[in-house]
């Protein structure tokens, strides 16, 4: 008994505990009728989790299952910060009366627990559990607009694709366990190092299956077919959550697994992964050009961005960690900003097509400026953080291995294509002038104006001073 207590004092994972409890608190909001205060409670709780996470004892091994190294702490902090941001911008959607905020918040918080586990696991069972805890709440949230058929469709498609991916992932994990006899990441790495070039085919097959399973989760081509429909059908801020936090956590987990365990076997998977990356970048960018709905365009853009982020997994070195952190931060903040603007535009105009942005600069100058900067950041144009993230990523790939020049060329070409569709939004806002209907003049609440300005500041300030994130030592 006392030993258990000792363990508990020693090994913390406070953020996970805070978020789980917060989920339960938010679940009970309906029964004890403190739903009005729920938003504030959740915000305070997530902020508390960030503080707790930063104070986490570093390099602690928790039950031999989690490892709180600097990588884990900083990625958890980044994800928690994005979650905090998400709760702020999504307030309006959950006060509109269609969604029950207490259930939705509980599911989001539980999904965040899964995301935190994905950044810090040191055991394959925890990785699997993390992915499942992250996915299952989202299967449900995707369908949370129950009267909307496309939301139902999104939920079902996401569930089927997710379940299929989990099956393949588990298959892969079984093969890895079968060949190495362990679930621990470091022991797998030791085993692979000891075996040298004499690795059994079972191990290779395991790695490939795990890679396919994870590629499904991060929606890399050719495993991306579920993404557009799911992103389009889900309620706006659920899509925003999927595109930023879920994706960020899935990449953090993907990188952690491959960096820790499979680097010595990289000969078997590097080529396949680079083909996957090229396919993802090309598919995402090219199909995005043909979209008429901005939400669907953002879905394809998120597929394309997944291709860039996968470059860090291909790289799998110390520098790649910084590139990953920077890219997820940049992509996350810009995407959340874009979705927030899109939400308000859709609310005012009723649709989310490119046409709905027409002459937005006249009715809502602030929204237009914010959207412009978000689009510039996603396209990777200075002075935004998106530029620096892409630049740092490409240059670190070239620095470590020049044989990937072709891949970088594909990426740059993809980025050029992406400029086209990101600028379509900007041109619609500023280029065309049409008579304005008075109903479209409705302004958004002041709270959001402040929030959006804040987000723009973050995008630009981080773009000018990316050293803030680069100065973390020993990531």
């Amino acid at each position: 008994m006392s030993k258990l207590k000792e363990n508990f004092n020693d090994k913390k994972m406070t953020a996970v505990i805070i978020l789980s409890c917060l989920g339960i608190v938010s679940m009970l909001a309906d029964i004890f009728s403190y739903k009005k205060a729920l938003w504030y409670i959740v915000l305070a709780g997530v902020a508390g989790a960030i503080v707790a996470n930063l104070n986490e004892k570093s390099n602690a091994i928790i039950y031999d299952m989690l490892l709180t190294d600097n990588y884990a702490i900083w990625f958890s902090t980044l994800i928690l910060a994005l979650v905090l941001l998400w709760f702020m911008v999504s307030k309006d959607q959950y006060e509109s009366g269609v969604y029950n905020s207490s259930d939705n918040y509980a599911l989001i918080l539980f999904a965040t627990v899964g995301a935190l586990i994905l950044t810090s696991f040191s055991d394959l069972t925890m990785m699997f559990l993390g992915i499942e805890i992250l996915s299952i709440p989202l299967f449900i949230l995707a369908g949370s607009n129950k009267k909307d058929v496309s939301s139902n469709e999104a939920s079902l498609k996401y569930f089927l694709a997710g379940a299929f991916a989990s099956g393949i992932l588990l298959f892969g994990i079984t093969f890895i366990y079968g060949s190495t006899g362990t679930f621990k990441l470091d022991k797998i790495a030791d085993w692979a190092n000891a075996a040298g070039s004499n690795l059994p085919a079972l191990f290779y097959t395991g790695i490939l299956l795990v890679m396919v399973g994870l590629a499904f989760k991060v929606s890399a081509a050719p495993f991306h077919f579920w993404t557009p429909d799911v992103y389009q059908g889900s309620p706006m801020f659920v899509t925003a959550f999927m595109a930023t936090i879920v994706k960020g956590a899935a990449f953090a987990g993907f990188f952690r697994l491959f960096y820790t365990s499979f680097t010595s076997a990289s000969g078997s998977w590097a080529l396949i992964l680079s083909i996957l990356i090229a396919a993802t970048i090309l598919t995402g960018n090219i199909i995005a050009v043909y979209q008429s709905s901005v939400k669907r365009m953002l879905a394809y853009s998120s597929i394309a961005q997944a291709g860039y982020i996968l470059l860090t997994v291909l790289l799998s070195n110390q520098e790649a960690k910084y590139a990953l952190l920077l890219y997820i931060a940049s992509y996350g903040v810009s995407t959340i900003t874009a979705f927030t603007v899109l939400y308000h535009v859709e609310k005012i105009k009723g649709t989310d097509t490119f046409e709905s942005f027409t002459s937005l600069s006249q009715t809502h100058p602030l929204l237009s400026v914010v959207m412009t900067i978000a689009m510039l950041s996603l396209a990777g144009i200075p002075p935004t953080i998106g530029f620096f993230a892409k630049f740092y990523l490409f240059s670190s790939v070239l620095k470590s291995n020049t044989s990937y020049l072709w891949l970088i060329m594909v990426s740059v070409a993809g980025s050029l294509v992406s400029v086209y569709y990101y600028f379509r939004v900007i041109i619609a806002m500023y280029g065309q002038h049409e008579p304005i209907i008075s109903s479209e003049k409705k302004q958004i609440p002041a709270f959001y104006n402040v929030l959006l300005l804040l987000l723009v500041c973050v995008i630009i300030i981080l773009g000018m001073m990316p050293d803030v994130l680069m100065s973390i030592d020993n990531l």
């Binding site: 039950y63 299952m65 009366g97 539980f110 627990v113 925890m126 449900i140 009267k147 079968g178």
Partner: protein, 165 residues
């Protein structure tokens, strides 16, 4: 003796799995999936993992497949109303599945059982319980978050929207 039982069970599993796919009647598909689960439970028994065998039957055959059958009966899906997939899709999926099959076959043919995985008693309730509450205590506890969110989700989807009530 064990070999013969293994072959019989494997054949049953494979044949019934094929019936699941090729049957036109969804009810027959569900029932043959149940037979597949039984054959797999039989394999667990051969591996001396009775607990897993029984839990496999209770959870999959006894609960999940009953719900499947439930839905199929209520939707009255007894005729095959599904449009058949285009030929190119059939060819592509056969090729993809076949490649995966060859990869798995190649991987498994070379491999030998790694040491420390085979033990006489690893499937018994005692050793399973001990492992679950010592080495895997943390995942065990964390999975409660998973179940809780699944439960909340079920309730949420079953409830009416706020505006309707």
């Amino acid at each position: 003796m064990e070999q013969i039982i293994f072959i019989i069970l494997s054949l049953a599993a494979i044949i019934s799995a094929l019936v699941v796919i090729f049957s036109n009647n969804p009810v027959y598909s569900v029932l043959s999936l149940v037979i597949t689960f039984f054959s797999i439970a039989g394999h667990f028994v051969l591996l001396n993992a009775q607990f897993l065998a029984i839990v496999n039957v209770i959870v999959y055959a006894g609960a999940i497949m009953v719900l499947f059958l439930f839905v199929i009966m209520l939707l009255n899906l007894n005729k095959s109303s599904e449009p058949s997939a285009p030929l190119i899709m059939k060819v592509a999926s056969s090729v993809a599945g076949g490649l995966l099959f060859i990869t798995l076959l190649g991987a498994l043919r070379q491999s030998e059982a790694s040491a420390g995985l085979s033990g006489g008693n690893i499937g018994s309730v005692e050793s399973l319980g001990r492992t679950l509450f010592t080495n895997f205590l943390f995942p065990f506890e964390v999975s409660s978050v998973l179940f809780l969110s699944a439960m909340i989700g079920a309730v949420m989807l079953g409830k009416k929207n706020l505006k309707d009530s």
